[in-house]
Amino acid sequence: MFAKRIIPCLDCKDGRVVKGIRFLNLRDAGDPGELAEAYNRAGADELVMLDISASREGRATLMETVTRVARKLFIPLTVGGGVRTVEDAQRLLGAGSDKIAINTAAVEHPEVISELAAQFGSQAVVVAIDARRTHAPKVETGNLKLEDGKSKSEKRKATDYDVPVSNFQFPVSSAAPAAPRWEVVTYGGSRPTGLDAERWARRVAELGAGEILLTSMDADGTQAGFDCELTATMSHAVPIPVIASGGAGNPEHFAEVFLRGAADAALAASIFHFETHTVRSLKRFLRERGVPVRI
């Protein structure tokens, strides 16, 4: 039985876990090493560490943190945040990370995905995709030019999404049934790219990504549930595993994203940092709901 994976995420800054920590029975709740061990004991299938340090000093601390976390961890560890080059990845993998996650740099220089896959193997390359709903009708994704004479609404849309004119996507026809689309955003959701998320997912798989870490920017932080529609669309679009992220608030949300969203794995931060839901209790719940999990 192949199991769906539950992946706690440690958001780290300057060597400390920073997001919503309230773990009991730990000497130091913000220490990534202690949290990693606690999650490992609780039955986590993997761990993801995302570094949100802005400074170079913070990055140096990250290497030390990865080394410390990896030393006693015998489940897969993925590290992301600020990975831009093969050299960045090399340092993280050398420090004991098993996979690296790359996001903005992959959008800006897609060829880096192939370089990473060639150097370290696809299994080490996780491409993180942050996607936001556009609420636009089904669109033609050719690189059409916006010319004078187009309707005001089309022009307004191009401005709304702040995309280069050459990437503007036209509705096939105004009569086409509205299907949800998602746009890739970068720099932590602050920058729209004009890229269709489903197409981008196919592209990164072709370029050699081993997995996709998919975050719904609409659901992220709401604790109101994963975006199952987005997850299912992306999961069916690519032959590689999709890790759903953003919106986990209770165990039912995980059941939904596996049963309805076709997710291969689900990632969450806050829900595990509060001990109301441990990885173990979540897995028991999922097993009762018929989701295959490792217990």
Binding site: F2, A3, R5, F74, P76, R294
Partner: protein, 197 residues
């Protein structure tokens, strides 16, 4: 000395970490001389079947590896280190494997997601030394696109679209398709069982 074979592209670091954690002295072996002196050999394979066998050959490691295995030195192949024991692989049709097991390593059909990345269950044959103290149905962590056919020497099999060999024991030759260094307690136990053989 326990040697971890370094052919330039494997995941030697994480296996070394696990072996050291278990308290066994070991070294990374990248020269023929080191391999010839080994008491136990672990080959943590990763990447491409053809590239690995070529890299082993180019570094002069293939011949001493075969000699050591033939001489009865305990060998543990991990991931590609298991696949290398077969005659050949669909991944690199022109490159011969070590040929200690019969058959061809095949690519997963696209019924499931490929590569298989994640935890899957072991169906164990009773009496295996490598899987001593490990309950049937335990999970291990996998990451691979090609699978090894079930042979009489298989002591563990797993299902992923196909039923395939995930644990091998043939005299001094042991191998696992999963990553023991990433499979939590189960993986550490498998490594310990091998290291204590």
């Amino acid at each position: 000395m326990i040697s971890l074979v370094d052919y330039g592209a494997g995941n030697v670091g994480s296996v070394l970490k696990a072996v050291e954690y278990l308290g066994f002295p070991s070294e990374v072996a990248s020269t023929p001389g080191q391999l010839e002196r080994s008491d136990k050999i672990i080959l943590p394979g990763q990447g491409h079947f053809g590239s690995m066998l070529r890299a082993l050959d180019e570094r002069g490691l293939l011949a001493p590896l075969q000699k050591q295995i033939a001489a009865g030195t305990p060998y543990l192949g991990i991931c590609l280190g298991l696949q290398a024991l077969y005659e050949k692989s669909e991944e690199a049709p022109g490159v011969p494997g070590l040929g200690l097991l019969q058959g061809t390593v095949l690519k997963f059909k696209a019924l499931e997601k490929v590569p298989q990345i994640g935890w899957n269950q072991l169906q164990l044959r009773r009496g295996s030394r490598l899987f001593r103290f490990i309950p049937d149905g335990s999970f291990a962590y996998y990451c691979h696109s090609y699978y090894a056919p079930v042979v009489p020497e298989a002591v563990a099999v797993t299902e992923y679209g196909e039923t395939y060999a995930t644990g091998i024991e043939k005299g001094n030759v042991c191998a696992v398709q999963f990553h023991p260094e990433k499979s939590g307690e189960v993986g550490l136990r498998v490594l310990k069982n091998f290291l204590e053989m």
